[in-house]
């Protein structure tokens, strides 16, 4: 009897270990709003907080806007300014959602899994539902998440003169990568 209880306890403990939340504070978001007229609006942010809860199937991330690094100081200033992301007023972008096919992803088994993600993306203080498909790679204890999608700036109330003049893409490409522990 004692052995059975011990076995159940061990199985439960290992199960909860695998179901632990996976996080990183070094997620990467690449933002590409380049157009044929302007190759400058391109940035990366390497200090994004990302969390996946395998047990609940939730995915969340927080993006500090001022952490985006551009090559050119003036473009970075514009990006943070009131006509673009207005980072003084809206310092963080967030995503809260679920991986709808979480039951098909085995976080205990090496492999590459397709992840269907749905949730609410907040940029510039505006929240919109988004849906995309990403990839989760499991290798030993390491879990890597990747996704690529685009957002319509107008949906988030971003429509400054550079967007109208075609110098900034109306639908920038967002590439997310995270090594989770």
């Amino acid at each position: 009897m004692k052995k059975t209880i011990l076995l159940i306890a061990l199985v439960a403990a290992s199960g909860s270990m695998f179901a632990q939340k996976k996080t990183t504070t070094s997620g990467t978001v690449n933002f590409d709003a380049t157009t044929t007229l302007d190759q400058l609006p391109k940035a990366e942010n390497k200090t994004v907080i990302v969390a996946i809860d395998p047990a609940k199937g939730t995915l969340a991330f927080e993006v500090p806007i001022k952490s985006f690094t551009f090559g050119n100081p003036k473009i970075q200033e514009h990006f943070n300014g009131p006509n673009w992301l207005d980072s003084e007023k809206f310092p963080t972008s967030t995503f809260k959602g679920i991986i709808t096919n979480i039951s098909t992803i085995d976080f205990t088994k090496d492999g590459s899994y397709s992840a269907d993600v749905e949730g609410d993306l907040t940029i510039h203080g505006v929240t919109k539902p988004v849906k995309t498909t990403g990839k989760i790679t499991v290798k030993g204890k390491a879990v890597t998440a990747n996704a690529e999608f685009s957002v319509k700036l107008a949906d988030y109330g971003i429509d400054g003169p550079p967007v109208g003049a075609g110098k900034v893409s109306k639908e920038p490409k967002i590439i997310v990568a995270a090594d989770l522990n």
Partner: protein
């Protein structure tokens, strides 16, 4: 038969030259502004030098005030490395206050990314970077401060 050469009004000539000079200067200025790159942080003078834990505590106490003081300033942060985190093709350096879980994290400038890879947890280091400010994370329930364009301060 000699053709009468019409002379340009001298004032019109001056105005035309003036417009051309202003247009050339404007174009030069725009070119300069948009082709400018961020300076190498290792060669940029620091606005502040702080201890990592003191910086974290200052943000925990009042992040609005701390953000006003430090954001977009070049800061030298001295402290003990708590961990190295993979960040796509490079690594970030992290210093954590073990009591609260609050942390400060450093993303390195492209030309200094190899330096970051030489750092190990437990090392006492001095890092110079541009402070992107701090905020409270609802995901981690801790305060966090991020730095960009960092370099080892030698």
């Amino acid at each position: 038969m000699a053709t009468a050469k019409k002379r340009m009004n001298p004032w019109f000539k001056r105005i035309l030259y003036g417009i051309i000079i202003v247009a050339l200067l404007g174009a030069g200025l725009v070119w300069y502004i948009f082709s400018e790159k961020f300076a190498d942080t290792s060669e940029t003078p620091a606005d502040f030098t702080v201890n990592a834990m003191d910086l974290i505590h200052e943000f925990e106490k009042n992040d609005s005030l701390a953000n006003k003081k430090y954001t977009e300033k070049i800061i030298v942060v001295n402290g003990t490395v708590s961990g190295i985190e993979p960040a796509d093709t490079t690594v970030n350096i992290k210093m954590v206050d073990t009591a609260s879980g609050s942390y400060v994290i450093f993303a390195f400038q492209p030309q200094h990314r190899d330096e970051a890879k030489t750092i190990k947890a437990g090392d006492n280091v001095s890092i110079k970077g541009s402070c992107s400010g701090g905020a409270y994370s609802n995901i981690l329930e801790t305060e966090y401060i991020t730095f960009k364009r960092c370099a080892l301060n030698k």
